[in-house]
Structure formats: C-alpha cells, structure tokens
Amino acid sequence: MKTAAPLMRSVGQPVERIEDERLLRGRGEFVDDNHVPGLLHAAIFRSSVAHGRIRSIDAAAARRIPGVHAVYTSAEIGQTANGTIPRIPLRLAAMPQLERFGQPVIAHGKVRYVGEPLAIVVAETPAIAEDALDHIEVDIESLPAVVDRSATEGYLFEDFGSHSPITYTATKGSADAVNGPYVRREVFRIQRHSAVCLEPRGVVAIWDEAGPKLTVLGAAKIPFANRRMLAAQMDLPEECVDMIEGDVGGGFGVRGTFHPEDFLVPFAARRLRRPVKWIEDRRENLLNSNHAREVEVELEIVCERDGTILALRGEAWVNVGAYLRTSTAVPTRNVAQFTSGPYRIPNIRIASSMVLSNKCPIGTYRGPGRFEGDFCRERLFDMAARDLGIDGVEFRRRNLPSPKEMPYPLATVSPPEKAERLDSGDYEMTLQRCLAEIGWKEKEELRGKLIDGRYHGLGIGCFIEGGAAGPRENARMVLHPDGTVDVFVGSANVGQSVETTSAQIAADALGIPMARIRPFTGSTTYLKEGFGSYHSRSTVMGGSAILDAARNLKAAIAAAAAKRAGCSPAEVQIGEDLVISARGTRIPVAELGSDGVSAEGTFENLKHTHTYAYGAAAAHVAVDPRTGHVEVLQYVNVEDLGKIINPLTATGQAVGGVVQGLGGVFLEHLQYDDEGQFLTASFADYLLPSATDFPFIKAIVLEHSPAPDNPLGAKGGGEGGIVPVGGVVANAIADALRSLNVQPRELPLSPPRVWALVEARKGARA
C-alpha cells in the first residue's frame, strides 16, 4: 500500500462546529428531551438533617396518592443486590482502605448530609412525584454535625473513629531539612464551590425484561465506567446495559460522574418494568451534585535572598464532605501534587489530608487541586517577593525551569507512589508573552495608584494543567460505499466540541473533507471499550486513537481493493480524497463491498504519562476601598497547548475557563451553617458570573512545544484558563492595595471581604 502524505487542511483551522447546526435550531437532544412511550417520572426524597440516625421512614401516605406508582426506600433496595445497599465505588485513585467511605446509593442507618437520598418516588408526572414528597414521614435522631476540621468527635463513620480517611504526601528532595535566609508561612482558604453546569443532571432508564436489557439515556463523560459500576450494582452482565450519550449541557468534571440517582432510577425502572425519567432540579443540583474546592492550606516557602526557591512545604486539609464518590479522592491528591506548580523547586513536601464532614461529597471540578494550589502558591510568591524586595515577575522568571531542563521532575505523590514530570515547554516564553499582551510595562505606573476613588493593581501567575490520563482510548471507523466515514471514539461529548475536533483529526488523517465524516462519541454501543472525557484527555487520547484507526482503515481499504483487483495490497495506492487505484485502475469505494470497510484503532498510554500544557495569566484590577468592589479591567491568559486542533474552540474554552474561575474568585460559594444546613439552594444565592461581570477577557493559545508522548503533539487543554485565576486576581488586588499592605488569603473576594481587609489594615495603621 502506498499512501500520499495527508495534507493538513482542517486541523489547526478555525473550523465551524458540527454540533452547532442542531443546537442552534433547538434540535439538540438533551436528556430531558427524551419522550419515551409509557414514561414515568421520579422525584427524590432527601434528608433535611445533616447528621443523624434514621429511626423510621413511612411512605404509606405517599404511595396512596393517585398517580404514584411506587416509593422505594432502603428497605426495598436492600431486598435485592444480596441484601446489601450498593455503594458508589471510587473510580479514580481508588485504594482498598477507602472503600468503606463509598456513598450508599440510598441512605440507610444514618444520614450524613442535607440532601442525601432517602427515598425515590415514581409517578405519572413530575409534579405528582413532587407532591408525594410532602407525604413521606421520616424520623431521624439528630446527631451533632461536623462541618469543618475543628470537630473532635461525632465521627461520620463511628467504627472508623477519625475524621480523616487518608493523607497524600508529595515529596521531592528533603524539604523538612532545608534552611534558608528567608522563610514565610501562611494559611490560605478556598471556599466550597463547584461546576454547576447549566443543564441539571438527568437519567432516563428503560428496562426490557426480554433481553434483559437496561438502556440508560443521559450518560455523559465516562459511559463505559458508569456501565461497569451500574451493572455490578444491579447484578447484571455489562453487555446487558447500554449507556447512551445525548447532548450534554456542560461537563467540567461533575456531570457524568456516578451519583446516587444513577442507580436509583434504573432500579425503579427495573422494578416497575416501565421507563423512568428523573431530571435533577436546580435546588437538588446545588445540594447534591458533586461539590468541590473547599480547602485550607498552610504553606511555607524557603528562599535565598535573591529569590531562588529552596523549598516549599506545608499541609492541606480538603473538606471532602460525607462520602467518597467516584472522583472525591482526586482534589486532595492533586493539592499535594500541584501546589508547587510549574516552578523549579528542589525540595517539596506537601501533605494533603481528606477531612470528612456532614456536607455534600466533593469531586473533580475543572482544574481540580490546581485552582486551589495555584491560589496559595502564587499569593505566597508575591508576599515573598515583596518581603525580599524583588519584582514579582522577576521572582517567577528566576524560578521557572528552562526548556533545557525538560522533562522536569515534579514531586512524587504517595500513596500509591507515582512519579510525575513536566513534559516539554518554554515556560518563560509564555510569561513574557503574557506581560506583552496585557501591556505590563505601560501599566506599571498605575500600580497602587488611586484614580477616581479606586486603587489600580496588576497581578500575574504561572500555571500548568495536566492532561491525557488513562491507559488507552479506542476508535473505530467505517467507510461507507457512498464515501462517507463514520468515526466512533471513546471520548465523550460534554459540550467541549469533541465531535468537531474528532472529525477534523479524522478528515486530515484520511485526506478527505470534514463534510464526509460523521463523528459518534461516548455511547457504549459504539465500541467495545471506551474511557471518556476527564483530565483533558478527549482530544489527545481519542484523537490519537483516531489516527491509529485511520491508518488501519487505509490498510483495510488496501486489502479490500487488492482482493477486488486481484493484486497484492502493496500494489494499491490510496491518494488524496481516498481515491483508490490498483495497478493504475481506479476502484470506486462503492465496489469495496456493500457494508463498506471498517477498522479499529487504539492509543495506549500504559505508563500513564501526562501532557502538561502551561502558561501565564495576568490581570489589571481597580479596587474601590470604600465598598470593596473589584472591577477586572483586563485579564489575559496565554497557554501553550503543543498542537491546536481548532483555535476557535481552544480559545473559547480558555475564555470560558477564565470566567468560570472568576466566578470562583468573586461570586460562587456553597454555604452551610454550623448545623450543616445548606444555605445556597437557589440561583439567587449561588451566584454564577453573568455577562456584565467580566467583559474584558483575552485568551491566547499557542502551539510552541509539542507533547512528546503522543502522535498529535497535542497537550490536554480546556482546564488551563481556570487554574491560575485565584492567585492572579488576588495578587492584583494586593498590588492595588499595596499602600495598605492588604494581603488576601481567602476566597471568595466578595465586596464585604475586600472591604473588611481594607478596614482591618486601616485599623492597623491608625
């Protein structure tokens, strides 16, 4: 077989998206858009007590309401599945000692957070199901609530007898032994907030007794992994469960992870032998979908007088909530791994502990552990630079690894022990580009200046994001007689443009126009095995698998054409546009067989090496010291992604990530009171950024240093925008208020918090 070198014609271009036509016409198919014949509707009865022992649940009155088909509690669910209540297993960073903390799919014995499911009601309409919730009586003996790490008793799991299931430690060199001329130790806090996708979660479960076959609509992110969990919980072979992905209204780490309802709804459908739909409402979404981010970090830096960092050491406590769900372990682990960031730090020791509390379980949220770690580190760097009389930019420049130092080792995290390294890059280049883009030099004179009642300040930070997790990804291609190609890939579509980028990669690999590619993502019916979309992996892993599938498809085409022409595959030529010729005779695709030609492809990452996109971000803010209001006048994010598949979508994700991060810095806060009651169960109290909040965001994506470990050269992107925001903005605020030596150590930087910081310093100076 001879093939022409593929012409790169759509990869790298700002190609308009395949997804958009249907979404713009209102023809998307989100989970609640499924109207299945005979559909029943579920509502979840949830605990209003943060911590307590369940004495009784009486659903008799609810069951009697006309239109109610069933109410299931732990009593009914415990009758099946070997008499035990299934738990949600850890999917990421799983270890045997953590299994006991897995969330049961329905509360039994105890409730451990407000919002924990106690019963599922199934009725003719969603409204009747909700009506029935008011008729369920529950008797719970209240126990003292644990809301933070100051609690000494009242263990959530009494037989465990501790609030902390595990500590991860990141180690490099001998940080504890290092002494230096400059040392500073600070405590930082980040508030609980989360992804809060605009589309609430949902499940439609269809049970077919004859198969038996369970079809789940609304699958997202990791359909294959969720199938494995659900099949085990329901005691079904995996092949009896299909997880079908539709359009998904945002992922960001939360959507698509296994939650209790992902079991409860299929369970109800199977028991009732009727299709059942459950659509999370916004209150439930805020109460019960994975929370994230709540952490306290005590961090110490040791430097030479010239700003050379000698060591970074400290401890972190991540408030993980009441249970460990599938991804709960990741943020704690990542705080240990990534608090040291992209810098050359020879000695590191950061111990990060999970702390259980009577709050909703946490999980991964875009840039898990990195957003948190970056805030602490970049703040501490600015404090150190100020103490040492070194410019903050220069301080960072001195401590960034050079291209010659790549690959550069990060700290090793344990347990389980895993070494990690930065793969490639010119870190100072992105820093310099960022300074140039925001006009740092020209704006220097504004720093700390009071103009029309507001102090101006600049902030900067450097960051890395990680990408490309997982052992492998798979793809399959089918060339149809009409010359079109179906591309199936294990990457999942959560709104991140993976259909378009997959089609771009496939089109170029096959040398055909994108219009002839039909991408199919996610669903378990497409491939034998898939891994989905997390840890910025869908383009790198899925795209690399597509390259392999394209290579194999060409070989299969050559074999089919050879057979047709009665020659050897080596005598077949495949040209641009999949023009096939054998011994000089053109063979139309239609003649290769009525079923077309198909091939599979795989990309293996058995060593679990990760890509590291990297960059720098800068902000210019104006702070009103009288009201504490901060205006972000300009924010610039520069990131090197190694290889850009689509600059339109890469830039879009970067800008979106920045604004999401600004939400976490200024607005978003999932609040509980001291009794563990949840206080922010509406969009009037949980504040997402709106269009008027942060207008001046610029993102620049570069392809300077390709990833060494995948054939695309691409690095996982899409999380980088959010990672540095906390540190960058807080540094800009500190810079603006330098005359008062205001040092933000805690998020969110709401007007009342900034005002209080100013007042405290005014008091200190007076």
Partner: protein, 289 residues
C-alpha cells in the same frame, strides 16, 4: 421544581377579582406579572388554593404624569416605565431606580403592583415610594383607601394589604423640574437585589441651600425606610463636604442592619454611609444616577 396544584381564575373586572379574593378567604393569591410569585410556588414556599390572574382587568396599566404628581397603575410593567419618555423628566429618580430592577426578561413581565405587594426589603420601587412619600391606592370589596408608602410596608415581605384587597396604583407627589436627586445601589451582580441602596433628593433655594431633603434606604432593614437623621444634616446647608460627612455619620449612627449570606451588618452599615455620600455629592453636581 414543579408548582403545587391550585385553581385558576382570570376575571375581567376589578370587582370580580376582588369578589374572588374575598370569597376565597385568604387562600387565594393575586397573580400579576408572576415574577416573584412563580419562584415562590416553584420552591413550594406557598400553596394557594386559587390564583386570580389580574391580566384582563382594565384600567390599571396607565402612567400619568401631571401637575399634581405622577400616577403609575398597578399592572404597569418595568419595561413600560423604562421606555416612558414623560417619566424621564416627570420623575427622573423613579425612572433611574427602575433601571436597576432585575433583567430584561423580568422587566418585560414584572409589575409595579406585584413589586409593592411582594415587599422585598431590597426592592427599588418600594424604596422610591417610601423616599418620595408616595401613596399606595388600594381597592377592596368594601371600597378604596390610600396608604402612605411608609406605613404600607410592615416588614420583610409583608404589607398592610388585606387578603381581599388589591393595589390599584401608586401616586407620587409632584416633582419640581430643578430638584436634585441621586440613586445608587451595590449588588453582587447587575440585576441582583441590592446589598443596600440609597435614594436622595433635595431642592435648592436661590442661595444654594438645600430644603425638603429626603433620604431613603433599601436592603438595610426589614423594609425600606427614610433616614431622617441624615436628612436633617442636609437641610439648610449648601450640601458641602462637611454636611455630607455629617449626614453619613448620622446615617451610620442610625443604622443597625442585618447580616445575611451576602454581607455582614457592619458592611451594610458602612456601605449605606458610602452610598449616601456619593449620592449626595452626585445630586449636588446634578448627576443623578
């Protein structure tokens, strides 16, 4: 988040609506724009047996700007106030404050009567009504009455309104063309309920002395209120920096705002002082809002 069950009526006249409300004996709720009522129902914080839709009642949708004052009908929507050219000069404070109400879509539905009846302590219209000594016109099966705004609001989300009573209109006293005024609020995001807000106006005599100073505050207590202690510091002065500072100090002395999710009481108190200084200075400069 589906609404609880209720019955629905859509009467064609005010009398019929009042009759329905009277007959229901407190279990009915009037439905105007629905922009506060429907979220309340969605969260199942209320369970009325009957909703009485006011949309077909004639005569409540007028804005009248006349020599004897400004009258705004209960079913007038925010977008109509926003677009009303006569109000821009006829009552610039009202016009400016309403620009802060919620968002585009809400302003297309939300009504004057609905906002007054809902009585959110941080809402703009109740605050302007109290600041301006507006009268709220009410109708019931027993007749009509007119209540000063300051008496109408009795606490957070509560008013003097009886269950068989409807708001017909709000009437503002005349607005002299040269009156100085200002309105400022601070909210977490544009369109959110304010953490606190301040409305001021005063008239200047030929010598540049302020008279008839009115200061109103929203978001800093369980209802909108006048800050008479601050007004007294401005009346008779040239609204110079010193009197503004005295007014702000008097305001802060008089205040003991509540803490909530979005701000501490101490912050609110300081914020009202700051906003008062800024609105007074802006008003003197003829800036408005």
């Amino acid at each position: 988040m589906k609404l609880p069950d209720f019955r629905y009526a859509c009467p064609a006249s005010l009398d019929e609506a009042l009759q329905l409300l009277g007959d229901a004996g407190g279990s009915a709720k009037p439905l105007a724009g629905g922009q506060s009522l429907l979220p309340t129902l969605a969260f199942r914080l209320a369970a009325p047996g009957l909703l009485v839709d006011l949309r077909k009642i004639p005569g409540l949708d007028r804005i009248v700007v006349a020599k004897n004052g400004v009258q705004v009908g209960a079913s007038v929507r925010w977008c109509e106030i926003e677009r009303h050219e006569g109000l821009r000069t006829g009552h610039p404070l009202l016009h400016a404050a309403i620009r802060h109400v919620a968002h585009y879509q809400i302003r297309n539905r939300g009504t004057v009567g609905g906002s007054l009846a809902h009585a959110d302590p941080a809402a703009e219209l109740p605050g302007i009504a109290v600041t301006c000594e507006a009268q709220i016109e009410l109708a019931s099966p027993h007749g009509r009455r007119s209540v000063p705004a300051e008496k109408f609001f009795t606490g957070a989300l509560s008013t003097l309104l009886n269950h068989d009573e409807l708001i017909v209109a709000v009437r503002f006293p005349p607005w002299p063309a040269l009156r100085r005024w200002g309105f400022e609020e601070l909210s977490r995001r544009r369109g959110d309920f304010a953490i606190a807000g301040v409305a001021v106006f005063f008239d200047l005599d030929a010598a540049g002395r302020a008279a008839n100073t009115h200061v109103g505050v929203i978001g800093a207590a369980d209802r909108p209120f006048r800050l008479r202690a601050a007004e007294a510091q401005i009346d008779g002065t040239s609204v110079d920096a010193a009197s503004i500072a005295r007014a702000a100090a008097a305001a802060m002395d008089a205040l003991d705002p509540q803490s909530d999710l979005h701000a501490s009481g101490a912050y609110r108190r300081a914020l009202v002082g700051t906003l008062l200084e800024r609105t007074l200075a802006g008003a003197l400069a003829g800036k408005g809002a």
